[in-house]
Amino acid sequence: MIDTYTRILEAAAEVEDKEASDAAVTKLIMHLKSMGRLKMLPQIARELRKVAARRAARRPVIEVAHHKEAAAALRAAAAAGISASHTSVNHGLIHGWRARSHGRLIDHSAKRALLTIYQTVTR
């Protein structure tokens, strides 16, 4: 039941028209009230939060080791199919960049390369 309501609201959130989606929420609350199932509302909210977190995790993220590598990283990532408007700095990468979007990862960082070398040498 909760899954069904969550899916309906998920679909409503896709609609650009804010008023329409608000109306959908109001209708759902009224429906739950009339059914005597208002208790489900926190569970639906929790599920929606999970969905939102899942979606956020799938958004394109491009990390670079230094600011100066940002432009090159954006270009290279776009060429590889991951487009984003900006980058974030992650000094832990040491050098290079990495991009993640919709379950795809391109790791062009020196950290990954060094770890690969370490694992190959010590295996």
């Binding site: 899942r54 590889a80 379950g103 795809r104 790791d107 694992q119």
Partner: protein, 516 residues
């Protein structure tokens, strides 16, 4: 030091950034050795994944604990997958990056594993360093089909008189060893492995002992025993102890079968002991319940039969075209209170080609091995029995069954006619002859000679209580005085007229020498 620097420099020079994208997921929730993973849309069942603890750590932190943790995908769901964690589950956290490895769960196989103790992932656990095995094989694969198989017709001698005479096992057969705890199931399997030492190097099977859910002390003791008897020279031990995750206990028999198949495909013979499949079934039930699969009878999942049938079907005798190798399986099942009609025992009984049933009552009476001859059977082994053994052991099973009936009758009657008394004494003698302690498997030719002695009436002048002592003397005597006879039986695998004549002469002399 220089060599290390050179190696590192070589690796750095050879490094080129990987441009390709890889598919990754994120751990949504974890617990009880199971991880729920978001993403990995293209992942397939039984694929390996890597939980990457280095992704959101600095290089220094990552190098402090660089060991990857693997997982095995067992459930494909709408918005993600569920995987069992094949390692320390406490290191998996929510939000952890998971990489697809694009390969099914595989382990390294090869002759380099011989003499080693490994876990179900093929990693050594004996402290002797890496195994250096190069070839990798998926642990789940389809069994050979009808066309690729040949009939089971070569014997696998266990060195246990009762088994080789009455429940013979052939190479490529699946013979179940079943019984309550503490009835000697493992002993039969271990004695069989030890007995392979008496085979010539060309025909000796590679033995794989798979310990599932056993105490580590028990496995350590077994390995020490095998090593002390020189059996580790041709053996491999795969261990998933009771303390290991349920996933490893479920995978262990498949790992053993994969290792055995490698040797089978090289045209060699292999023997694999699964000790025991009841514990594997329990581990699989645990996994299935955690993966929220619907429970069936005794809470086992619906595919528990398929779990065992697909494992045991991998035991085979291959056709000449396929190299003629074989993989013999000795699965072990532990029963509760002798109940062979429970779910898992009946399943495995129906899958295998026969069973050796061990009984607590017989064990407590002092019979070793405590085999209940009445319900133990080998469905294909008789065609693999040597002519020599067939000749000497043809009627033993029937005679023993008759003896058991008479023995039961005897409890109610004290006054027996001479014929019945004679039969009972003969049965007692035969039972004594078949009694065999642990760790003393006998070469096939010695078994044949001893059973010939018993079935030909040479022991009739001895009281049943004396038989044990007489048998020891007989063994020494045969080794000392009848070496030629034993060699002839070993070579020809039958007791020819000439050999029988000489053997009878030697036995006459033995009886004359030892008769009271």
């Amino acid at each position: 030091m220089n060599s290390i620097i050179e190696r590192i420099e070589k690796e750095i020079a050879a490094w080129a950034p990987e441009v390709g994208a890889e598919e990754v997921g994120v751990v949504r929730a974890t617990g009880d050795g199971i991880a729920e993973i978001d993403g990995l849309e293209k992942a397939v069942l039984s694929e390996m994944v890597l939980f990457d603890p280095t992704f959101d750590r600095t290089l220094t932190e990552a190098l402090a604990d660089p060991n990857p943790i693997y997982g095995l995908i067992l459930n494909l769901e709408e918005d993600g997958v569920r995987a069992v964690i094949l390692g320390d589950a406490s290191k998996i956290y929510e939000g952890m990056l998971v990489r697809r490895l694009n390969r099914l769960l595989s382990i390294s196989v090869g002759p380099e594993l011989v003499g080693r103790v490994v876990n179900p992932l093929g990693e050594p656990v004996d402290g002797k360093g890496p195994t250096k095995a190069k070839e990798e094989r998926p642990i789940e694969r389809e069994a050979y089909g009808v066309i690729d198989r040949a009939p089971v017709n070569v014997p696998l001698h266990t060195g246990i008189k009762a088994v080789d005479a009455m429940i013979p096992i052939g190479r490529g057969q699946r013979e179940l060893i079943i019984g309550d705890r503490g009835t000697g199931k493992t002993t039969i399997a271990i004695d069989t492995i030890i007995n392979q030492k008496s085979e010539s190097a060309t025909t000796r099977p590679i033995c794989i002992y798979v310990a599932i859910g056993q105490k580590e002390s028990k496995t350590a003791k077994l390995v020490a025993e095998l090593a002390a008897r020189g059996a580790m020279e041709y053996s491999i031990v795969v261990t998933a102890p009771a303390s290991s995750p349920a996933a490893l206990q479920f995978l262990a028999p498949f790992a053993g079968a994969t290792i055995g198949e490698y040797f089978m495909e090289q045209g060699k013979d292999a023997l694999v002991v699964y000790d025991d499949l009841s514990k594997q079934a329990v581990a699989y039930r645990q996994l299935a319940l955690l993966l929220r699969r619907p429970p069936g009878r005794e809470a086992y999942p619906g595919d528990i039969f398929y779990l065992h049938s697909r494992l045991l079907e991998r035991a085979a005798k291959l056709s000449k075209e396929k190299g003629g190798g074989s993989l013999t399986a000795l699965p072990i099942i532990e029963t509760q209170e002798g109940d062979v009609s429970a779910y898992i025992p009946t399943n495995v009984i129906s899958i295998t080609d026969g069973q050796i049933y061990l009984e607590t009552n017989l064990f407590n009476k002092g019979q070793r091995p405590a085999i209940n001859v009445g319900i133990s059977v080998s469905r294909v082994g008789s065609s693999a029995q040597t002519k020599a053994m067939k000749k000497v052991a043809g009627k033993i099973k029937l005679e023993l069954a008759q003896f058991r009936e008479l023995e039961a009758f005897m409890q109610f009657s004290s006054d027996l006619d001479p014929e019945t008394k004679k039969r009972i004494d003969a049965g007692r003698r035969m039972t004594e002859i078949l009694n065999q302690g642990r760790g003393v498997p006998l070469p096939f030719e010695m078994e044949a000679a001893i059973i010939f002695t018993a079935t030909s009436g040479y022991l009739n002048s001895f009281a049943p209580e004396e038989i044990k002592e007489v048998e020891e003397k007989l063994r020494d005597y045969l080794y000392r005085e009848a070496g030629g006879v034993l060699a002839a039986i070993k070579e020809s695998r039958e007791i020819r007229e000439e050999t029988e004549k000489t053997l009878r002469e030697k036995l006459d002399a033995f009886v004359a020498q030892h008769k009271n």
